[in-house]
């Protein structure tokens, strides 16, 4: 099968700690893939390793047939990978508009995507002049996703989109992510299994730095034993 993103047996160290000890992630084009696992299992590090923010020492990361290992993070991102990090990482001192403009990869990206972004997140249009620090958690999460949509990204890496959000906002977020999936391939890290199971088509379970199981989400939903074993109570 042809994968848009093909991560094979990566090993990543942070300082002396061997955080990832062999992670495989195969992401078919046009799908939503969820990375599941307990806190500290290495899901976020996997995303950062794909992007080159914590470069893996071994293994290979292929994106659309091109090897990413050895490239600097900004070169990886420029190939068309958008990143929505944990805790959003909105630039507090920049206005909402500047937070979007800074993501331009080519001049005019923002002007071109404006209408699409505001149709997805109508609230942002109202907040456009506010500084990023003044937004609520949900608004920041929308802005973080919107920021990844400004350039033409083929792959979106989204880390914990539902974290700390009210249920109503989570609903909105899920609807937005579903709509995005029609345009781009998505890799999702999600603690909330309910959210993950409703969004993703495929999953990879990461346990203590290793990918231990992968498959179709509809099979996992019925596999109570696996859910209990790797993800705790579901």
């Amino acid at each position: 099968m042809d994968y848009l993103l093909d991560v094979q047996d990566i090993h990543t160290f942070i300082g002396q700690y061997h955080i990832l000890q062999g992670v495989d992630v195969h992401v078919p084009k046009g799908s939503i893939t969820a990375l599941l696992g307990r806190n500290g299992a290495g899901k976020t590090t996997t995303l950062k390793s794909i992007l080159g923010l914590t470069p893996p020492r071994q293994g290979s990361v292929r994106f659309a047939g091109q090897e990413l290992r050895g490239l600097a993070a900004f070169d990886v991102a420029a190939l068309g990978i958008g990143f929505v990090p944990e805790h959003r990482a909105i630039f507090r001192d920049l206005t909402v508009e500047e937070n979007l403009r800074i993501a331009e990869r080519r001049k005019g990206d923002y002007a071109r995507k404006q209408a699409f972004i505001f149709s997805l997140f109508p609230d942002l249009q109202r907040l456009i002049g506010l500084s990023g620090g003044a937004l609520s958690g949900g608004q920041q999460q929308m802005l973080a996703i919107a920021r990844a949509l400004v350039p033409d990204n083929r792959l979106l890496l989204i880390d914990e989109p539902s974290e700390g959000l009210a249920p109503v906002v989570i609903e909105h977020m899920m609807a937005a992510i579903r709509q995005l999936a029609t345009e781009a391939t998505i890799v999702l890290v999600e603690q909330n299994f309910l959210v993950a199971s409703q969004l993703a088509e495929t999953y990879v379970i990461i346990e203590e730095g290793r990918s231990v199981q992968a498959g179709a989400m509809r099979d996992l939903v019925n596999d109570k034993a696996t859910i209990h074993r790797y993800l705790g109570a579901a």
Binding site: L51, L53, F74, L94, E98, R101
Partner: protein, 513 residues
């Protein structure tokens, strides 16, 4: 409005207290003294700001405490002096520098070539290239003719040349000529060694990665550099004579431009070669910049000598004849007086009006750069979260280099502006670096407006204390007239810093960490 008041209550209170002090100072002084002291405060504040703003930009984005900033300020002053008083030396230096740089402007092409010729043992080959280049340079550079002053001979020392220049006696020193080495050999040798070094570096670094597509830009760049270098060689005498005959205002403008360019080049070079490998080891970085500041000072001592000397002011600010000191702006425009009468006091135009004005212009320009340009946006974002900026596909490393170069360029601008006012000395950088650090602590380390406010406060406080050293402060309810002694001047700013930091640990405009 209310929330603004509540948030900034401490800041407003502090400013009110300071304004109170200032008003009290004004009441105990003649108006003319007060105005002059105020303007001098602005002047010192502006120079401090030029050091502090660059320092704070670099620290904010790169997390590098550049302790060499004061030395770079000083180097800016000496570079400016060289262009202004000894343009012949400057023109002589242009050729070898341009030839040495020429190889590096072809970096893109070398990278391409390096990927093509990826043979084994390229490390050895590259090092042989470096060796050949070093031998060539060791042969050529000592024999390359550069007309220079002589620090050991008073008649030809910088001090003597400065004196002559300030009296308007511009007698070009004898030009240096090619005697020990043929010009063709020198030019060719420099070109070859530059190419060897640049290609060797590209070769060592080519780790199997394909280079970027080759463009015409690198070739136009090398053509420009060669044009400048060879032009300066062929028309050396004509250019030197032209610069010596040039109106001193224009020459000063050129000196400022060259000085800033020197700062930008030094800053860029420093970041790329020395700072970059040490981002993961901040303590080493601190030691490195400290060491560089010492090396820089010793280099300046070796080249320009230890004695202090002055830099004559440009004509625009040096008039003394009839009609001076000027009383109106129109008078000043016609006579270009060095001093004007303001509130019945004599104010030096260059020191007390021109420098603060330049400081203000820089303040506003950098503010616009930060707020309106894409580079500014990236800087503001990068101060908060570098990784995220990189994750957006932005080459943060290049921005680091640009910011470092900009910061050092600002320091060099400060140095060359300060030179005609306070003179050149080996220690001029230290006091300004110290002032700048105190100003940043007062204003808030990574806050740009904080740097401006802190610098202004430091400048004003120092000048008022100096003034009170002359006229004395009457202590209320006693007959005592307290005259602050000179050591109190720097101590007072430290005291202000301590008080401000006790009340507001992040400085007046700093953000909470």
């Amino acid at each position: 409005m209310n929330t603004f008041l509540r948030k900034n209550l401490l800041l407003l209170l502090t400013l009110a207290v300071l304004a109170g002090f200032l008003a009290a100072a004004g009441r105990n002084m003649e108006t003319s003294d007060f105005v002059i002291t105020l303007l001098r405060g602005f002047s010192v504040g502006a120079l401090t700001f030029l050091v502090a703003s660059g320092f704070s930009l670099i620290f904010g984005l790169l997390d590098v405490l550049n302790l060499a900033h004061g030395t770079l300020f000083m180097i800016g002053a000496y570079a400016g002096w060289t262009v202004y008083v000894r343009p012949d030396t400057f023109i002589d230096l242009v050729t070898p520098l341009a030839l040495l740089v020429s190889g590096f402007t072809l970096a893109d092409a070398w990278r391409h070539l390096a990927v093509r010729i990826s043979m084994t043992g390229r490390g050895v080959a590259a090092w042989i290239g470096f060796g050949v280049a070093a031998l060539l340079l060791a042969y050529i550079l000592p024999r390359y003719p550069i007309a220079m002053w002589n620090v050991d001979d008073y008649a030809q020392s910088p001090v003597a040349y400065s004196l002559a220049a300030s009296q308007g006696q511009v007698t070009p020193p004898p030009a240096a000529t090619f005697t020990e080495i043929a010009p063709g050999v020198a030019v060719l040798g420099l070109l070859i060694s530059s190419a060897f070094i640049a290609f060797g570096l590209a070769w060592l670094r080519s780790g199997g990665q394909a280079g970027r597509p080759l463009t015409w830009r690198s070739f136009t760049r090398v053509a420009m550099v060669l044009l400048v270098g060879l032009g300066a060689l062929i028309f050396n005498d004509a250019l030197t004579a032209w610069l010596f005959a040039l109106n001193s205002n224009w020459l000063f403008a050129i000196a400022v431009a060259v000085s800033v360019a020197t700062g930008v080049a030094l800053g860029g070079l420093m970041e790329v070669t020395l700072i970059r490998p040490l981002y993961v080891r901040p303590i080493y970085q601190l030691m490195l910049t400290l060491g560089l500041s010492v090396i820089g000072t010793e280099l300046v001592r070796a080249i320009w000598g230890r004695p202090e000397f002055t830099m004559p002011k440009p004509e625009l600010f040096a008039g003394t004849g009839a009609g001076c000191p000027a009383t109106t702006f129109g008078d000043w425009l016609t006579h270009h007086c060095s001093t004007v009468i303001l509130f019945e006091g004599r104010v030096r135009v260059y020191n007390e009006i021109f420098i603060p004005l330049v400081g203000l212009v820089v303040l506003i320009s950098i503010w616009i750069l930060l707020k309106r340009s894409r580079l500014g946006m990236i800087i503001r974002a990068g101060v908060q979260d570098r990784q995220m900026v990189e994750a957006l596909g932005i080459n943060v490393r290049r921005v680091f280099t640009q910011v470092f170069a900009l910061g050092v360029g600002l320091a060099a601008l400060g140095g060359v502006l300060a030179a005609p006012s306070i003179g050149l000395s080996n220690t001029m950088g230290e006091s300004f670096l110290l002032n700048a650090l105190i100003a940043l602590a007062i204003g808030g380390l990574t806050s740009y407006p904080g740097a401006a406010l802190g610098s202004l406060l430091v400048g004003l406080l120092q000048q008022f204390i100096i003034k009170y050293g002359q006229i004395g402060i009457p202590i209320p309810f006693t007959e005592i007239l307290f005259k602050p002694t000179p050591p109190i001047v720097p101590a007072s700013t430290v005291l202000l810093m301590v008080i401000v930091l006790l009340i507001m640990p992040n400085g007046l405009l700093g953000k909470k960490e």
